[in-house]
Amino acid sequence: MTLLDTHIGFIEALRSAGLSVSLAEGLDAIEAMRRIGWGERDVVRTAYAATLVKKQAQRVTFDAIFDLYYPRLVGAGVAGEPESDGVRDNGAALTRFTDELADALADTDAESQRLQDLAVEAVGRFGAMPGRGPGLSSWSAYTALQRVSPGQLIGQLVAGLMADGMVEEDAERIAGRRIGSFTRLVEDDARRRIAEEKGPEHVANIVVRPTIDRLDFTAARRSDLEEMRREIYPLARRLATRLTKQQHARRRGALDFRRTVRASLSTGGVPIETHHRPKRPHRTELVVLCDVSGSVANFAQFTLLLVFALREQFHKVRAFTFVDHVHEVTHHFTPGGDVVEVMENLAASTAHAALWGRTNYGRAFTKFAEEHADALGPKTSLLILGDARSNYSDLALPVLRELEDAVRHAWWLNPEHTRHWGTGDSAAPAYGEIVPMVECRNLTQLEEFVSAISMGTQPAR
């Protein structure tokens, strides 16, 4: 493959991963390479990133694909395959390797180069799966990690760090992070070797995960959830700026006759410039009713956080959580409150929302209508969050219809993909007939929805 083929393949892969790389940007990249040359991999990476990636959120995807198309080394590198010294994988080799790894991990100032080399060796020595049929990959990060099991080194590492005078929690945190980064290096290296055998374009489709703002709430891992949570405040700030700006643009109201006539005096009585009264801003009262049972708890938390981060945009916000019983949680959201604390309080209060612990929408709606009917009024918008999976219990459709009648607008946000609505115990179609149901699977969709309702417009279905 020539350099140009690689370049074009690389850009193709970026495009299919969702980065909008234009022809002009591709040409810019080539022009940049002409200036800096292909001598150093990191410089090449920087130049590509500067010319092709224009959103930081896409950088992770870019790095993953770059590693496939411009691998750090080929095969086992200059050192050669481990067969040269006769042994490939045996007990002695494993012991020696583990010792070396423990040493490298414990070395605080170790440059990443050493870990990198060890990761390459780990895959080369312990992750090989020779003799598999054509089309199956012959390298496995899983096998390598099973064999080396770096997790066992955590204890040793923590002890070492504590001997250096570190507090136990800090030591555990640092040890965990180092082991994690080694694991990631091993996974990267296995991917590199597979890409080398099968061609990068086959691997690119598999390795690329959606960016954090397009990741499904229900498919998120724990680390993703943390990252998403960090996104909430920037997201709220962005939304608030945009909303204030849009409201300014629509501020012009009815003609202010007095001011217009006064101003016309300076132009000889001709009303060249008209003056208008400012429009009274329309503010929605929002009541959020959310399912916090295990399956959708994450989604509910994110939406609540975002809604409360934007509270200035609404007249008043009240929030209730339910599993099979309703519990008000508004008081947990103190202005300027700490995100982590709010999340902890929310999690703790889940117990109040459950009597038997099985989601029961019908019962929750009935209870809500009995106990908190005062929350709803003709100015209120009702927002229901949940997957509408009610364990085949009574749906209490008439109660929901009453609730819907009592408020100005009602929406239902469903974190499931539209194609799953109505499957199994999902009552989405039945509820969807009464309350308009909107699919909301990731941060981007959530952002669109919240921006639409706080502007008082009808969100897209």
Binding site: I36, V43, A49, A50, T241, K245, G337, D338
Partner: protein, 288 residues
């Protein structure tokens, strides 16, 4: 003229100008100069986006022209404006003996043109660094205006014709990403994301910005700031805040950054009360 001769040259000269750039920043700055393309710098507040533009100007001996963006910025304040009061005076002074066509030609000349930052930067003969600061604060219409300037480095004034740059300025756009910029603008720029630096580089920055700071204290400070950034805070401390903190320590003559000292000066680094409470809790400052 070439701005920098190589990435290493960029790094060295920025360092001389008091800006410690990492490899990616230096390479991208070099490319922006070599390809004569605008450089869009994004990142959290206080990581040195604006400072990068200033450092480029200092290190290359160019003059810095700054356009601060804000909501409601328009053509008249970004590009150019006719000095209509002076034009009015000119018309009144000419009296009745001059034909309209002559007056017309007279009043639309350079003399009556008030140039604003964008036009100034394009017309300058000497090397210029044009800093368009916080470009995300502007309205979408201004982006359209920037398009012509950034792609061809020319401005069309109906009465005068098109003014092209004799020497392309080094353009730096900064953004806090409160709003997504349009694809068209992004396509014309090189992109650089500045993030919080690693501990080593941050220590260098702090010690170079705050001479007289003890090395041991600098290390403690950088460690604490790095730990704070790992917490879930509303606003993580940036480099600017580390530097402020270092200055505070010098001013208060604190020679050792222990728990009590951190707690007394926490307000310099963290500016939300809930963030401070969280830091005290997580860094275990209270109990000791």
């Amino acid at each position: 003229m070439t701005w920098f001769s190589s990435p290493d040259d960029a790094s060295a000269r920025l360092h001389e100008a008091g800006y410690l750039a990492d490899a990616a920043t230096a390479t991208t700055a070099y490319l922006a100069g070599a390809l004569e393309k605008p450089l869009l710098v994004e990142g959290p507040a206080g990581v040195g986006k604006t400072e990068l533009a200033k450092a480029v100007a200092r290190s290359t001996g160019a003059e810095l022209i700054r356009l601060q963006c804000y909501e409601g910025l328009d053509e008249a304040r970004a590009l150019y404006e006719w000095n209509y009061k002076k034009q009015l005076l000119r018309i009144q002074a000419s009296g009745a003996d001059q034909a309209w066509s002559e007056t017309h030609d007279d009043i639309f000349t350079d003399e009556f043109l008030l140039t604003r930052p964008l036009l100034t930067a394009i017309r300058r003969e000497e090397p210029t660094v044009l800093l368009i600061d916080e470009v995300d604060k502007t309205d979408v219409e201004v982006e359209g205006l920037l398009l012509e300037v950034l792609s061809d480095f020319q401005v069309t004034i109906p009465e005068l014709g098109t003014v092209s740059a004799t020497r392309r300025p080094f353009v730096v756009l900064t953004s806090n990403a409160t709003r997504e910029l349009s694809e068209a603008v992004k396509r014309r720029c090189l992109y650089l994301h500045l993030d919080y630096p690693d501990a080593e580089r941050e220590r260098e920055i702090v010690t170079s910005q705050v001479p007289g700071l003890d090395d041991a204290v600098a290390k403690q400070l950088v460690d604490v700031v790095a730990r704070m950034r790992e917490l879930e805070l509303k606003k993580a401390p940036s480099i600017a805040e580390s530097v402020d903190w270092a200055r505070t320590l010098i001013a208060l003559e604190i020679g050792d950054l222990d728990e009590a000292a951190i707690q007394r000066t926490l307000g310099v680094v963290l500016k939300h009360s809930s963030d401070q409470a969280r830091a005290v809790k997580e860094l275990r400052l209270a109990g000791k």
